[in-house]
Symmetry: C2
């Protein structure tokens, strides 16, 4: 039965929620019934937040990060180190790295990684824009912070080849056992790498 | 950092999603980034579905089920057996029972169960409205379909006392081992009851 409780409005709302990734019909119904218990103003604020976002959002001209204006808050922040560029796949990674509070340079959002399986080639990514930033000068270090997957490694390699002729240091994220991990459960490749790339013990 | 990627619009949308039960900040961000990849029209349809629902929804005058009009589709359906009333806690249970396609009578949504711990007493529930339906006549059976919890049992008992003086059959849902359950994992109370209330074997 598609519409068991005979409310088309309820049914529509449930359908809209179920379109989201990871949300099934049961969860969707639970969320909709939760919204029904909220005040009319709260629900309007809820619905409009997404509409306003979708219609109002822009992407930073410089780093392609999400932004409310032409240049994002990170690129516009003069306290940040403009000589470091951290190259990431998507906005999610900008947010994750910002949350660590350990990086004070700028970003460059590629918009994905090279993945022939998904039909994503170098020309689909913001690589020319990254090179343009290097050619504009003032960059000392490019940090490749892509996912440690086959596609991420391919993209790292491609970028390394492209960027090698510029006078910049090219670094990647350290790989090794996660903090808090039990060694016996670490995968072999990671554990192997973390022995090869062992670092001096610091108190 | 409250606003790591410097977009207030994004931040607002994430906050709105995180208000929903069972959705944390990470999931909220994932959902918002998903919405950002959809067309402007799709996101407007998404946001407006909830606003339209919240502002347009009504509750059936007869059974208190959710409805687009004064009388819900179930109460208005003349093919249904108006002599049976199934008493449930909330709209969720109406939808669950409708999905079984095994019940063809009408419903009565109490709006909860008696729960002194949560400050819910009989007067907070639609019990007087249920009695009014019985007094109007034509009802042959009242099915108590509340949750098999302490509160549900208390409410069952209260309703039974209240309804006993009317000439209606009062039934409750059958309790026993679930279909597909392994007996060794069934809880003792359920297993005990299902032995006491054993039924003749049917081919």
């Amino acid at each position: 039965m598609d519409n068991p409780c005979s409310s088309i409005l309820l049914d529509n709302a449930v359908k809209e929620f179920s379109k989201l990734p990871g949300i099934g019909k049961k969860t969707a119904l639970r969320l909709v019934l939760h919204l029904l218990r909220q005040s009319s103003e709260d629900v309007e604020q809820f619905g409009n937040a997404f509409i306003t976002l979708r219609n109002g959002i822009r992407y930073c001209k410089v780093c392609h990060n999400i932004s409310d204006s032409e240049i994002c808050g990170i690129c516009a922040d003069e306290r940040r180190d403009a000589s470091q560029i951290c190259v990431v796949e998507n906005i999610n990674e900008v947010i994750s790295i910002e949350n660590t509070q350990q990086f004070h340079g700028l970003y460059h959002v590629l918009g994905g990684v090279i993945s022939p399986m998904d039909g994503v080639g170098p020309s689909d990514l913001a690589i020319d824009e990254l090179i343009a930033r290097l050619e504009a000068g003032g960059i000392k270090e490019v940090i490749l912070a892509l996912s440690p997957t086959m596609e991420g490694d391919t993209t790292n390699f491609y970028l390394y080849k492209k960027l090698a002729k510029y006078e910049v240091e090219i670094t990647t994220l350290a790989r090794g056992v996660s903090i808090g991990d039990e060694l016996e459960y670490a995968d072999e490749v990671t554990l192997g790498r973390s022995i090869l790339n062992r670092t001096p013990y610091k108190m």
